[in-house]
Symmetry: C2
Subunit: 225 residues, 2 copies
């Protein structure tokens, strides 16, 4: 099994602030997992007792609303940590995590990493920075949800996915989402999301190959008011 000390992934998240000794200890207690597309990693209400270090793949964090829809709040990709908040609060998760494609993760039990959070100020400061960033992002999402149209929100979602997660060799977005997922990111009905995507296609802003989406005019999408 891979060792945390040598893992390239750790460079991209807070684990980089751990000392070599701490990494060795964690390496010995971590467990590697392959998670299949569609698998629910944890549900709302679950006690998540550890963090997942995402070595490959993508998952969505969502929250079920009373009307039966599953609002996507955040996406976690390769290199990031999943379930950080479980380290800090003893409360159960308020979100559900679902794999969007096949994933490879390392699970680090809370019990092992908690001591580091308490003793290594560099590590805890790093986690703090991460959370501050998430919070800033959440503020932006709130404002967008409250003040922008479905058309604008969907355009921004496409831009966000493009810029943050990149594209395949053929130019299509590397994160493959269903139309329903798009609707759940934007917070609208699936039909509305589909309609707006069709509209974007007609306007030449995007093109589609099956469910794959290719952005044809980033500038055009940015101009949408």
């Amino acid at each position: 099994m891979g060792k945390c000390e040598q893992c390239i992934i750790k460079q991209f998240n807070s684990l980089k602030s751990l000392t070599k000794d701490e990494l060795v200890r964690i390496s010995n207690c971590k467990t590697s997992h392959i998670i299949k597309k569609g698998t629910v990693i944890f549900e709302e209400g679950d006690a998540v007792n550890g963090v997942y270090c995402v070595k490959d793949g993508i998952c969505k964090l969502s929250k079920l609303s009373e009307n039966g829809k599953d609002q996507i709040v955040k996406m976690v990709v390769k290199g990031q940590l999943l379930g950080q908040r479980s380290l800090v609060s003893d409360e159960n998760s308020n979100l559900q995590a679902t794999a969007l494609n096949d994933m490879e993760v390392c699970f680090i039990p809370k019990s092992e990493i908690m001591a580091d959070l308490q003793k290594n100020p560099k590590f805890s400061f790093d986690v703090l920075k991460d959370m501050a960033h998430d919070l800033k992002e959440a503020d932006d999402i709130i404002v967008n949800m409250a003040q922008k149209s479905v058309r604008q929100r969907l355009a921004e979602a496409l831009i966000y996915i493009h810029d943050s997660f990149g594209v395949n060799p053929d130019g299509t977005l590397s994160v493959l989402l269903s139309r329903e997922d798009f609707a759940n990111i934007v917070g609208t009905a699936t039909e509305s999301a589909i309609r707006v995507l069709s509209q974007f296609k007609k306007e030449g802003l995007i093109s589609t190959i099956g469910k794959q989406i290719k952005i044809e005019s980033l500038e055009g999408l940015k101009r949408i008011e």
Copy 2:
């Protein structure tokens, strides 16, 4: 000037985790301020170089949207810290803080408290907990914005303000907000907020005395679907 060590307010926020020595030092560099209703404490883009400990009064944290509206993201009341995120990130503020009534605050320069954040793990863990809580709250707001009607959101805002900030002796909400503020919390047009409040009044769920609002049926508001 009051001393931090003896300040009752500190019990309600992360400062309680500081040692007596740390509090004495902070006490010597903090500055007390009276902030008048309507004053902008800091703006979007400002470098906030410290935290405000709110001893009295309430302020709103908002973010200007392109359509000219000012979405309220959070409210900070007596006992809480304002500007915590400035400690963690070097970026400028993404939010504007505005006093909703006359406030009394202590300003603690970032330079003085940063060392404590780095050295006192209990303190940093407390800040971490606070942020995790804010993040959880932000998730809920996102879901509400995305999935609920203006009517539902306004009902929930009233319940939230009632439960979190309490009522005056006559039963009216102790936080006095304009109709525009309500609209900016809920993320709707001022006219829409006014209309829904009028509707609630007709239905006997609330009553009003001038711009003061009194909740007549908390149960009724909770039942709104």
